[in-house]
Amino acid sequence: MKEQLHKYLCPYCSTKFEAFEDLKDHALAAHTGEPTPLPEGMIRLTLNGDEYQIQVQPEWTLNYLIHDKLGLTSPKMFCDRGACGSCTVIMNGRPILSCMTLAIECDGNTIETAEGIADSGHPLVETYVKHHCMQCGYCTPGFITTAKALLDKNPNPNEEEIREALGGNLCRCGTYPQHPKAIMEAAELLGESEGGK
């Protein structure tokens, strides 16, 4: 224990050194030019296009980080344990459940929430409003993120594919039949704007 305390640890590669000078020489020789390593528990995220560097506790979920700490209200906790999809965010292009993901494991990742999707002017938000895809609205952001991730992957989904993609999203108000309509219309609008480019 005592011995360990006197050792110097390279923050880049964890090699141990007896003397600080040795560590310094090593760091300059082996790691010059590398970005400064983050202290333990510090993660970097790109959230809705913004860079974040934030200290997290090992037990924090991504949902807790985004919702409670960063104040974005869209990832909603409905079921509390991976069964409802309300807390869905898009991480590196894939829809994931933020309630089942540890924040500390998200270092370096790119995350998108419903707020980001809305701010980017994605047509889904408008088609969702038009087709009344929300009633109480609690589940809606989770549907929006799931739908956006689907459209990113499959720009022209048919009803079957949409139903399958949304199979993990619960809506107690039963807005289900409206989502395929809204998603297909958004796909069409996206297609038009792509075509127009």
Partner: protein, 810 residues
């Protein structure tokens, strides 16, 4: 009271009983499709704020200890280790001197309950201890450090067991004699005679297992004391009740010193909002917030949201006498229900309100067991729709008759036929229309009934499954009771109109509907009207826990808009102002208000529309001389000032379901299923809903209730069941992995149609729709499955194992 006496009293009590005499000539926004919903962008972008989202500086989290036993008393409790846990800021025990023995804790009327009870009457009940800490995790950890000595008591889960003479007592504190809380009776006619005269008599029993509301947003709330003044964020449907109850706490807090915030709500469908004690956690939070100087937020975990269920849980015993032509002569419907929290309805009400069946005997036993409380969960009519659907369809099946013919032959009300009902329509001021027939016309075509309906077990599909189809019907949704108030003001500068009322949003898009009504009544553009849900304006609309947004608040909005319009026209024809500098002439001199009208937010002279003035011009701008006027620096042509334009209106009415108002609008529903006789799996493959809503305010909102309710109903019928372990009394599936609700895949196409007979008690003859579909759909699964496989299954939910059992396969 005789039917006639009841009816006379109804006329006496209702000032608005007469059909809306002031129906608009032209509906513009009312009834229009594709009206943009006000809450759309907020909700789609995730920026809509719910109580669960509220975070205040230094806020503490409050968690409750829950009972591990279905019936037990706390003998002693050692909280010393929890108290010293870092991050714990406050602990409240059942024996805390700041806790009163009982307080008004909301629910369905005033209550007197212990905020933190010492005896648990069901497993999972929050009892004995509440901990406020810096984080939820710390609060949870503190709860784990507490040592409790429990005295376990015998418990009961089953209503029939509870009725036995030697049964232990489930709630000895409140019901020391036996477990029968109360027995209600709904009856008319002479049963003996009815059965005697009937060609046939049949008896059967049905069971509905416990199911619950599963609110997407769990029970939660926040309180903060600003000096002596408390501020609350509540996830409840009944802000007025909450405020009343809160004001009685701490030896009275003046009503005008309490501030309430009702944000958007992850829907509750009645549920949590109607349980007695639903403000128990808020009471505890208030004590601790006061004591610690911090704001406090209480949150239940997901399991805690399974705390209570729907009040149709129980057993139903039917005896039906009917003739060979389908006329039903006598219905005995007995209900044994678990833990209903309030009087509610027995299994007989819909026979009373929908049919001419002359003899009815429907007693309802309210029985205490050691499970959570049950209440209205979209909705309290579930026992009724269950009885009504099962009896009607069973009679049709016995006779080999088309269930639609059985419906038509029995249509009526209070034991009387349609002629009697039509007379009542006329008396009430309506033009009689045959709502059932109008609905059936649309519905039969939509489902292709004449081709699809077949004898039981007669249609094997090419996929090997058995096809079934069924029909059920009922009356208009009847929660037209209640009261609500609304205010409106014209904003200075741009002349837009704000509707002021406390928000109580449950997702039904009511706020948009109010704007549509106001726009048409005022003659203003829809985009000039906004529902401004000031969190505590003091104007409490009727809450949405009934289908009352339109039925009650719609009236209040209508009244208010009319008052405001009169004020606007009055202002336009009166001197603009009387000031120290003189009198400023009216905008429309020598014209009477009645000679003016408003269209597209512009006031004009009816006989000469070129003479016009926008509402914005009428109210004028505000400027440096305060909110109402400019200094008159620029000469007399400037507006000197214009008086504020504000109106307030209310509506109070007794509902149909108090027995005073017959119901005139009918609703019909069709369902198709495919049953796999190998696996027992049922697929709801097609549903058609036709609702006579009297007058459509917002067709998209109506459709939302139709398909939304269908999904909820299908889930209830197919798999929703809260299971308790009979040995320990512990709830086994209080989470969304083990308790299934319908997903997008769990229902086939849903076709929705609306009928407008204008025979409802809401404005323009409208009536509510929010509760009908989710309530009628569940019971329809039994006749649908019967039509598919020729076997009746009367145990709900109708799960695959129950199907296989009925088929004798297991």
């Amino acid at each position: 009271m005789s039917v006639q006496e009841e009816y006379d009293r109804m006329i006496e009590m209702e000032d608005n009983i007469e059909f809306d005499k002031y129906t608009l000539k032209d509906f513009d926004q009312i009834g229009k499709k594709d009206v943009r919903r006000l809450d759309g962008t907020e909700k789609a972008s995730g920026r809509a704020e719910y109580t669960m989202d509220v975070q205040l500086p230094g806020m503490l989290y409050l968690k409750f200890m829950t009972s591990p036993y279905p019936h037990a008393e706390i003998k002693s409790m050692d909280t010393s280790r929890a108290e010293t846990l870092p991050g714990v800021r406050g602990i409240l025990r059942y024996d805390d001197p700041d806790l009163p023995e009982v307080a008004d804790l909301g629910g369905h009327g005033p209550t007197a309950m212990a905020p933190l009870p010492k005896v648990a009457h069901f497993e999972g009940e929050p009892v004995g201890l509440a901990v406020a800490a810096d984080t939820e995790d710390i609060a949870d950890e503190a709860l784990r450090l507490v040592k409790v000595e429990w005295e376990e008591r015998p418990f009961l889960l089953d209503v029939e067991e509870a009725l036995k003479s030697d049964a232990p007592l489930a709630h000895p504190e409140d019901f020391p004699e036996n477990n029968l809380e109360v027995e209600h009776l709904e009856a008319h006619g002479d049963m003996e005679k009815g059965f005697e005269e009937a060609d046939r008599v049949l008896e059967f029993k049905a069971t509905r297992r416990l199911h619950t509301y599963v609110s997407p947003e769990r029970p939660c709330g926040v309180v903060r004391w600003n000096g002596d003044y408390p501020e609350f964020w509540l996830k409840h449907q009944r802000p007025h009740e909450n405020k009343r109850a809160i004001s009685s706490w701490f030896e009275h807090i003046p009503m005008n010193q309490i501030e309430m915030h009702m944000l958007y709500q992850g829907a509750t469908f009645g549920g949590w909002t109607q349980f007695y004690w639903n403000q128990g956690p808020m009471y505890c939070a208030s004590v601790l917030a006061k004591r610690t100087g911090h704001s406090v937020k209480y949150i239940f975990d997901r399991r805690g949201d399974f705390y209570g269920g729907s009040m149709d849980e129980g057993n139903y015993y039917f005896k039906v006498g009917f003739n060979n032509d389908g006329r039903i002569l006598a219905v005995e419907a007995k209900g044994h229900f678990s833990n209903p929290q309030w009087e509610g309805f027995g299994p007989g009400n819909h026979f009373e309100d929908n049919t001419r069946i002359p003899n009815l005997h429907a007693p309802r036993k309210v029985i205490k067991v050691n499970k959570g409380p049950n209440t209205a969960v979209r909705c309290e009519q579930l026992p009724n729709t269950m009885s009504f659907t099962l009896v009607m369809d069973r009679v049709a099946a016995e006779l080999g008759m088309d269930p639609i013919d059985v419906a038509i032959i029995n249509d009526g009300a209070k034991g009387h036929d349609m002629d009697w009902l039509n007379e009542r329509k006329v008396e009430a001021g309506f033009t009689p229309r045959d709502s059932l027939k109008e609905c059936l016309e649309k519905g039969k075509t939509a489902i292709d009934w004449d081709n699809k309906w077949h004898p039981p077990g007669a249609n094997k599909l090419s996929n090997g499954k058995m096809h079934g189809v069924t029909f059920s019907w009922t009356h208009e949704w009847d929660d037209s009771c209640g009261s609500g108030e609304i205010a409106m003001r014209v904003e200075r500068n741009d002349g837009t109109v704000s509707i002021l009322g406390m928000r109580c949003d449950n997702g039904v898009n009511a706020e948009t509907g109010y704007c549509q009504i106001a726009a048409d009544e005022l003659g203003m553009r829809l985009e000039d009207i906004f529902y401004r849900p000031h969190t505590d304006t003091g104007f409490f609309p009727m809450c949405p826990d009934s289908s009352t947004n339109t039925g009650v608040n719609g009236w209040a909005v209508r009244h208010c808009a009319r008052l405001l319009k009169a004020k606007i026209l009055e202002a336009a024809t009166s001197p603009r102002a009387v000031t120290q500098r003189g009198i400023y002439p009216p905008h429309f001199p020598d014209i009477k208000p009645e000679d003016l009208d408003i269209k597209d937010s512009v006031i004009f002279v009816k006989t000469d529309p070129a003479q016009k003035l926008s509402v914005a011009e009428l109210v004028g701008p505000s400027a440096e001389a305060g909110p109402l006027s400019f200094h008159e620096l620029y000469g007399a042509e400037r507006h000197p000032f214009s008086a504020p334009l504000f109106a307030h209106a209310y509506q109070a009415q007794i509902g149909c379901y108090k027995g005073f108002r017959p119901k005139f609008c009918r609703q019909v529903h069709f369902m198709e299923v495919e049953v796999d006789t190998e696996t027992g799996e049922i697929e709801v493959s097609n549903v058609v809903n036709v609702n006579d809503v009297g007058k459509v305010i917002n067709p998209d909102s109506c459709a939302g209730q139709q398909y939304g309710g269908t999904y909820m109903g299908a889930g209830r019928a197919l798999f929703e069941e809260v299971v308790h372990d009979p040995v320990t009394g512990v709830m086994l599936n209080g989470n969304l992995l083990d308790y299934k609700i319908a997903t997008i895949e769990d229902c086939g196409p849903i076709d929705t149609h609306l009928v407008e007979t204008q025979q409802g008690y809401g404005p323009y003859g409208a009536t509510g729709i929010g509760e009908d579909i989710a309530t009628v759909i569940p019971a329809m699964l039994a006749p649908a499955v019967y039509n598919a496989i020729g076997v009746w299954i009367y145990e709900f939910p109708i799960t695959p194992d129950r199907v296989l059992k009925a088929l004798g396969k297991i």
